[in-house]
Symmetry: C2
Subunit: 442 residues, 2 copies
Amino acid sequence: MEFDIAIHNGTVLTVNGDFDIIEDGVIGIRGEKIVHIGSGSDRSIISGAKYLIDADKGIVTPGLVNTHTHLPMSLFAGLADDLPLKQWLEETIFPAEAAYVTPEFVKQATLLSCAEIILSGTTTCCDGYFYEGHVASAIETSGLRAVAGQGIVDFPAPGVANPVDNVDHAIRFVKEWAGRSETVTPSVFCHSPYTCSADTLKKAKAAARRYNVLFQIHAAETRFEADLIRSQHGVSPISYLDRLDVLDGDTLLAHTIWVDEADIDIISRTNAGVSVTTESEMKLGSGIAPVPDFLKAGVVVGIGTDGRASNNNQDLFEEMDFTAKLHKVNTLNPTVMDARTVMRLATIDGARAIGLGGVTGSIEIGKQADIIIVDVRKPHLAPLYNPVSQIVYSAKGADVKDVLVAGRPIMRNRKVLTLDVDEIMNKAVEIGNRIKRREIES
Amino acid sequence: MEFDIAIHNGTVLTVNGDFDIIEDGVIGIRGEKIVHIGSGSDRSIISGAKYLIDADKGIVTPGLVNTHTHLPMSLFAGLADDLPLKQWLEETIFPAEAAYVTPEFVKQATLLSCAEIILSGTTTCCDGYFYEGHVASAIETSGLRAVAGQGIVDFPAPGVANPVDNVDHAIRFVKEWAGRSETVTPSVFCHSPYTCSADTLKKAKAAARRYNVLFQIHAAETRFEADLIRSQHGVSPISYLDRLDVLDGDTLLAHTIWVDEADIDIISRTNAGVSVTTESEMKLGSGIAPVPDFLKAGVVVGIGTDGRASNNNQDLFEEMDFTAKLHKVNTLNPTVMDARTVMRLATIDGARAIGLGGVTGSIEIGKQADIIIVDVRKPHLAPLYNPVSQIVYSAKGADVKDVLVAGRPIMRNRKVLTLDVDEIMNKAVEIGNRIKRREIES
């Protein structure tokens, strides 16, 4: 057999339906796809490969899937912390966005996030922001796979001076990026039920249906929002969105915390996906999403980091660890959210939640070769009794050695091959210094 | 001025009483002590140093203080997860300890933990286990600072076949190690109020008082324990320990979760310290310690990782992040446990909780030079608006570049200088393989 790339000498966590684990596994890749999965005893696989990657007894897993982030917010990380969401948004983030966010800012901040994301083992991310064409271009440069959503709010936003034009602006982005990239898929991202009118939401979802793209929305994130929607519309945020007919299998709800049993039933019935961003929701004190209840109801749940400004990092390994532990302590039941369940959320379930379940999120023949290798030659990862436990509870992004997306190595031995990381950091420091000095970008 | 070592070209977080932050700071070290703190403009400091450490624009902080761990448990990490504490202890940990824990196991596991701890920026740890003389020796080899507590339970334990001898065994350890080491201080560690009788607790505390060492105990960790103590003694675990007169400023309570207002008053009145081990308590589903209430009551609180088998890592950076975020979401108040408060817990307050407040935990003249340097040339750490936020919410152990303990560099540019890390990992893998094959150690 001939392969463009073979990966060997590692423990392969397939995260397929049976969660098969192959000790001393071999993966054969042709073009962008996985075409063979076997065991190391078959030497012909290895000898038939043009390019051989030695996992060095490490753990080989599907690349992680970050189902909710705002990549361009990396340049605001640490600008303000320890504040409630509303105050943090209104007093720091919105003014900073108005003052500093330009196409160049978005490009540099996205590249910075992509570097972080690659270095921490994520191969797919689902983004929502403004100037999304610039976000998508920067993601493409990085080699990452992504769903990129143009942001929609009913007030002036970066790149959309006139809110009357907000949905059309998003549609133009979707049309421009439809089929343009092998790895970047467009989407529309309505900020929330309280920053978008019913008309905006309906129009944006109709466009998403027309162009067959993911519709993303923050929903039921804070008690403030839940109370507001109830006072305005007489129902919960989820019930309100359902009434507007914006929930279906191509809708992703983010930060979905303030929900009751009836809301969970609606989400389950409509097949909407949910992205939980545990660390951000904890840091902002927003609340605890009922993830075990979502799973019991059959809701597809993915894990996201949220933007770096509210987390403050985009390391999905850490996010898995937080997500497992938070629900154990919240239910006083250490058996919930076991390591396998959590690893599924961060890979295949996340892929399903953003509409890429057939493409990525597991190591299976026919899928895109989105694969990472975790170096276990670290004191905190030795010895190795249970590789899934090790991935969820012990490993961190910095332990990832190699990253492939669509069969293309984009990091080898912790060197990012697609980006000039030093130059990106220099520019980040430069922009940060300008913001610290309160210089307004033009 | 002449210095043995000068550290320059970094942002110094002193964590002194005013939390002074010095941009472009300089620290002069003579012998094991900090003798000068100034700013980089003073070139004579730098030129007067025999050995110069360039922080390379990084963040210079006190070495972190891990107030509660069981270093030799690293070799059990990942052996069993996602189980309740009682089942995890009784079905996995206690049998494994009975089968495998020997002096050689303890030595190798401790060295493995020390490597992990140094590589993640901790300079002081407070341990409690069995064969503690072997733990202490291994810690000394690593160059770390530590309080090492010989474990006491009322049933046969590793190295203490006859429980009648348990307290005397601990006293022998304390006498052997009193004044023996510059950096390792002995202590006694009663496992808990439910595994030690009232007589054992009183005798052990009396010995700790006689030899002026720290008395450590797990207390009020689970609802099971709280209910048990109440059914046996009619009062809460804290009230019970107070009645036995084992609480004072030289007592450290670990995992103190199941407490009410009256218990917090007792802890505050007796000046006992508390070690919160957030990640372990979350993972075991034990509960959430009322840390903001402890702080309001003036209780000295430190942060610990617990042993690696229940966490599953000993990275205090991650522990800071978890501790800040858990209490924000638990109180639905993002302003509690702000970054500075949490950083104090992980440094100076931790040092105070384990009786080393005058020795370590802050960068102040006259204190031991226990100092770490965090490399900020990483995509997830650029740009740098607020170094304290960066330390608590963004940095991880793997970002630590240099570690000094008592003025001695024990890690430079991520190379541990005191330990053969590769050999330690090889031995860990070897012992792990024997345990996987269920071979009984002799």
